[in-house]
């Protein structure tokens, strides 16, 4: 076994041989056939490197072995050497049929999970017949009805693929998808995936388009939905806590991690207060982060986050179940680092960001298109983004070794330093009375705004060089820039007509009754809102109709705007 | 677009007819202090005194803007039109400002019976802007039933609001730390109504109690200052607040020349005299003033005497400089 000399870990007889042995056992049990890995020079590459001679146990306490506390080095014994991350490209455009065509191609090109991005009007909770036609279908797919969802998922085996729904509270897309599955005779117990936009607190703070219901209303729906899914769709992750919005809105990486963990604490406390068992519900918590181009900082952010979460769930919630201590996360390369100028440079940037995410130990990833600053990705740029992941996965030998940066003097010390920063942010939020209160008062919004302005000043002053923007500028030919064609207005009109037809074909008595039941559920604390929502979808209710009822009863989502 | 200017009635006529665009433009003219201001103000004078002017003051974050929003809703529900002048602080260094009060009043944007104008303090101390009194007059002339002044609320003495408003509302919120303290420091004296906003927060009852205890120490006057609890978000207590405002306005309107309108006029006069004097003293080439300056410098005369001399000189000649 190779050894890494580390100043913090003096030499002597190894005290964590036992822990190593345990990991090795787990590793072999899980990995199946372990093909020997050699580098281009023929050197055999071990799955993990560690200081086998640390006498005071500091290694085990701070880093440990993959899959064992504190999970700094990874949440599974095998990590990417066993199973690589899922490639979850976010896609959505135009009509459901356009999405379906596109997603099939993406799946064929290597993506292993699918993600649906709906149109902006869907995020706002409005049906397409109430939106100005110019802005329909420009950023995502129009999904207003169960029929729309059925078309989106045509020929796609819902039960064989992991599905990510960009579906904010009150989770109408999930309700529609479950009804589609039901009609296709698919057992809900086989449906796997994530509501990756369930984090209404992050919407209130940083992603206003998704913010549909008032904070209190969204909180209620969230808890009802989680309880319902735990019972009926047990392999669905009801909680994805999103640090990406806050980092993209301007939070530093440490702030974003701290705020996300504070949000997770808030949700966990809410679930606990509802009588749910942390040992169970924490198993289904997943996270969603931004990966900036600040390479080592991002790696350290993820390693520190993993360690903090692992300890925090036992300290605050008394959790012992190892599965509930795993810090599972999806990550997306940051669009904020990408430039409109010299757009092909973005391929290099995305590659670096993606590497930081992989070496940081992510479970799932989206890579941005090089045309990020021009429009939602063209087919060409989406292909390059997927290929980038394939290249990193299969050509670059990044997955041979678990946590390959572990043990680097720099990365370990940076991980410690980031941990301190992140814990400081969590302490600040605790002092504000928790995340819920800290966002209601605008504390978090102000913190993020100040960081955003500070960063912008660094770019403006040239202190932070951005190639093509404030340095190495070139005259560019505007007509050479890629730009996604907008959906045709004719198609959009057809979509609106289609909705009108679907609406007219419903049984009005059945529909009204279901909407009335939904209203009743919202009013009464004892009736599960999400169950009523599924019934409403079964009765043909549209997105807009469902959201309207819930807005009436639970409050319209008005963000706290802080200038 | 066709040319409207040809038959368009004059600004004054349109203002008196209550046209939004005319009121907005008139406020800009007053704010920019252009040459036509004096004539405009003179012309509207006969049309003033109909509205009731309500001042909202209190520390930042107490919920003034949110409460004004709810108050507008309540008054609209009673069939009254409302104009609001909301003042935010200008940066003392750059002079710039972000005027965010109306973010909280967004639901009234499209209501023709509501007019909202954001004003920057532009270095003026006292919680309002230098032009606030005249802005209130313009709103009055435009026929609004209720005029709301929201002050900066950064702990200034806010006496101006006291002079200009028929009804002075002082707002605090539980848990803002030392705001009860700040209220002690003088602002209590001007309040007609004390509001503890955010009544949904845990310490609200205690704050109400503290304020009531403080009021009990004051000599009884002809108006008993009520302490009201409100929740500006769900609008609890707004009906009581509006009732109290109407009640107070009715009692104050009967009191004669030193009412709020008189106060506004007096404040306008004081400001204008000061500004006129400042301009002349700084810009005139005048031997008398030069002499007074050098006398002052050499401590030949006191400041009191100097003021008298300069004022007499200014009265003698208007055309100098």
């Amino acid at each position: 076994m190779n050894k890494i000399a580390k100043p913090v870990m003096s030499t002597g007889k190894g005290t964590h041989q036992a822990a190593f042995d345990e990991w090795q056992q787990n590793y072999h049990a899980l990995i199946g056939e372990d093909k020997p890995v050699r580098n281009r020079s023929g050197i055999k590459v071990e799955p993990l490197y560690w200081p086998s001679d640390d006498p005071d146990g500091a290694y085990n306490e701070k880093l440990g072995f993959p899959g064992a506390d504190p999970m700094t080095r990874g949440i599974y014994p095998t990590m990417h050497r066993g199973r690589t991350w899922s490639q979850r490209q976010l896609i959505g455009l135009g009509r459901p049929v356009d999405f379906n065509g596109r997603i099939k191609k993406i799946l064929a090109s290597g993506a292993s999970a699918l993600s649906i991005i709906p149109c902006n009007s869907v995020y706002r909770g409005i049906d397409c017949d109430e939106v100005e036609p110019e802005i329909l279908g420009t950023c995502g797919t129009i999904i207003n009805t169960e029929e729309d969802m059925d078309i989106c998922l045509a020929d796609i085996p819902i039960d064989e693929i992991s599905i990510g729904l960009n579906d904010p509270s009150p989770f109408t897309m999930l309700a529609q998808m479950l009804v589609v599955a039901e009609k296709r005779g698919i057992d809900w117990k086989k449906v796997t995936g994530t509501s990756n936009q369930s984090d209404y607190i992050s919407h209130f703070v940083a992603n206003h388009m998704f913010y549909r219901l008032s904070l209190q209303g969204a909180r209620r729906v969230q808890l009802d939905t989680a309880a319902y899914l735990a019972e009926h769709v047990p392999n669905w992750n009801a909680f994805s806590i999103v640090g990406q919005h806050m980092q993209q809105a301007g939070a530093t990486p440490a702030q974003a991690m701290g705020l996300t963990l504070s949000t997770a604490i808030q949700y966990a406390e809410d679930c606990k207060a509802r009588g749910m068992d942390p040992e169970k519900f924490l198993e289904r918590f997943t996270f969603f982060f931004d990966i900036s181009i600040s390479f080592f900082e991002e790696v350290a952010k993820f390693r520190a986050g993993r360690r903090i979460w692992n300890r925090l769930v036992s300290d605050r919630f008394g959790v012992t179940n190892p599965r509930a201590k795993r810090f599972k996360f999806h990550a997306q390369t940051s669009g904020c680092d990408l430039t409109r100028q010299q757009p092909l440079n973005n391929i290099a940037r995305v590659t670096i960001q993606a590497m930081a995410g992989i070496l940081g130990g992510l479970q799932s990833m989206h890579t941005d298109g090089y045309d990020e600053v021009l429009s939602t990705p063209t087919e060409d740029s989406a292909k390059v983004a997927v290929s980038t992941q394939n290249i990193l996965k299969h050509e670059a030998h990044l997955c041979d070794v678990i946590d390959p940066l572990g043990g680097s003097y720099y990365v370990e010390s940076l991980t410690d330093a980031m941990e301190v920063e992140i814990l400081n942010v969590i302490a600040e939020i605790d002092a504000e009375g928790g995340m819920f209160k800290a966002v209601e008062s605008g504390f978090v919004q102000e913190m993020i705004g100040a960081s955003a302005l500070e960063f912008q000043d660094q770019v403006d002053s040239g202190e932070q060089i951005v190639v093509g923007v404030n340095a190495f500028k070139e005259d560019e030919d505007a007509s050479a820039r890629p730009f996604l064609k907008r959906p045709s207005q004719v198609h959009m009109k057809q979509q609106v007509e289609q909705l009108k037809k679907i609406k007219a074909a419903r049984d009005p008595a059945l529909l009204n009754n279901a909407l009335q039941e939904l209203r009743q559920a919202a009013r009464s604390e004892d009736i599960n809102v999400f169950a009523a929502e599924i019934d409403a979808v079964r009765a043909g209710a549209t997105l807009g109709e469902i959201v309207k009822v819930l807005r009436d009863e639970l409050g319209f989502g008005q963000p706290l705007v802080v200038a | 677009m066709q040319d409207q200017t040809a038959e368009k009635p004059g600004l004054l006529a349109r203002l008196l007819a209550g046209q939004t665009a005319a009121l907005a433009r008139a406020i800009s003219i007053v704010e920019r202090d252009g040459p036509t201001v004096s004539a405009l103000l003179k012309a509207i004078q006969p049309h003033l005194g109909r509205a009731i002017v309500v001042g909202f003051t209190g520390p930042p974050g107490a919920g003034k803007s949110t409460l004004v929003n709810a108050f507008i809703g309540e008054m609209r529900g009673r069939g009254r039109t409302v104009a609001v002048a909301a003042v935010d602080p200008s940066s003392p260094i750059t002079g710039g400002a972000v005027l965010g009060d109306r973010i909280r009043m967004a639901e009234h944007t499209m209501d023709a019976g509501v007019f909202i104008r954001s004003l920057a303090s532009r270095g003026h101390l006292g919680g309002l802007s230098a032009s606030a009194a005249r802005v209130a007059d313009l709103m009055d002339a435009a026929g609004f039933d209720v005029i709301v002044l929201e002050t900066v609320g950064a702990g200034q003495s806010e006496v101006e609001m006291a002079e200009m408003a028929d009804v002075r509302i002082v707002i605090s919120a539980p848990g803002l730390g030392d705001d009860v303290q700040a209220i002690k420091a003088g602002i209590l004296e001007i309040a007609d109504i004390l509001v503890v906003n955010k009544s949904d927060l845990p310490l609200a009852k205690r704050t109400v109690g503290q304020l009531q205890a403080m009021l009990a120490l004051r000599a009884p006057g002809d108006w008993k200052v009520p302490v009201l609890a409100t929740n500006a978000v769900d609008r609890t207590g707004l009906c009581e607040l509006a009732d109290a405002v109407d009640h107070r306005a009715a009692t104050r309107k009967m009191k004669g020349p030193r009412d709020a309108l008189g106060g506004r006029t007096r404040r306008l006069l004081a400001q204008s005299v000061a500004k006129y004097a400042e301009h002349r003293v700084l810009n005139d080439t005048c031997a008398t003033i030069d002499a007074v300056v050098s006398d002052l410098q050499q401590a030949g005369i006191g400041l009191d005497d100097a003021i008298t001399k300069v004022l007499m000189r200014l009265c003698e000649s208007q055309d100098n400089g």
Binding site: Y211, A249, T339, V373, D460 | R25, I29, R32, R122
Partner: protein, 142 residues
């Protein structure tokens, strides 16, 4: 004609349509404030009529629309509505994600300037100030 402003420029910084990105608009509000302007800042999702009502009541010199999620496609409607309300002198600038092709359409509809990602503080402030002076000079006196 003045080539300086007699009072601070008044600028409405707002968002129309469905978009909610506000990192850029908050930065712009701070830029303009720091340059001595008075910024009226709003909630997102303003209807075109609401922008006109705001511009009218606040008697602004410049309207700045920040648009990242294609809502700039509604700006031509705003230009028509402003004209109809007698606010033809008010200058409109748009910033955010605006494809080149759309930029040409916006300029043709009367937008004064489009700012793209990478625009720097100094250029933004200088241009808005210049436009405020122009608007102020054209503002009808009554």
């Amino acid at each position: 004609m003045n080539d300086v402003l007699l009072a601070p420029a008044r600028v409405l910084v707002t968002k129309i349509g469905l978009d909610g990105h506000d990192r850029g608009s908050r930065i712009i509000a701070a830029y303009l404030r720091d340059a001595g302007m008075e910024v009226i800042y709003t909630n997102p999702w303003q209807a075109i009529d609401a922008v006109v009502a705001l511009a009218l009541e606040e008697d602004v010199d410049v309207i700045g629309i920040s648009s990242l999620a294609t809502d700039h496609l509604l700006v031509p409607k705003l230009m028509v509505a402003l004209d109809a309300a007698g606010l033809g002198h008010v200058r409109v600038v748009v910033g955010g994600i605006v494809p080149d092709e759309d930029e040409a359409n916006l300029l043709a509809a009367g937008v004064s300037k489009v700012f793209h990602p990478g625009a720097v503080r100094e250029d933004i402030v200088t241009e808005v100030e210049r436009l405020a002076i122009a608007a102020s000079n054209e503002r009808p006196l009554d």
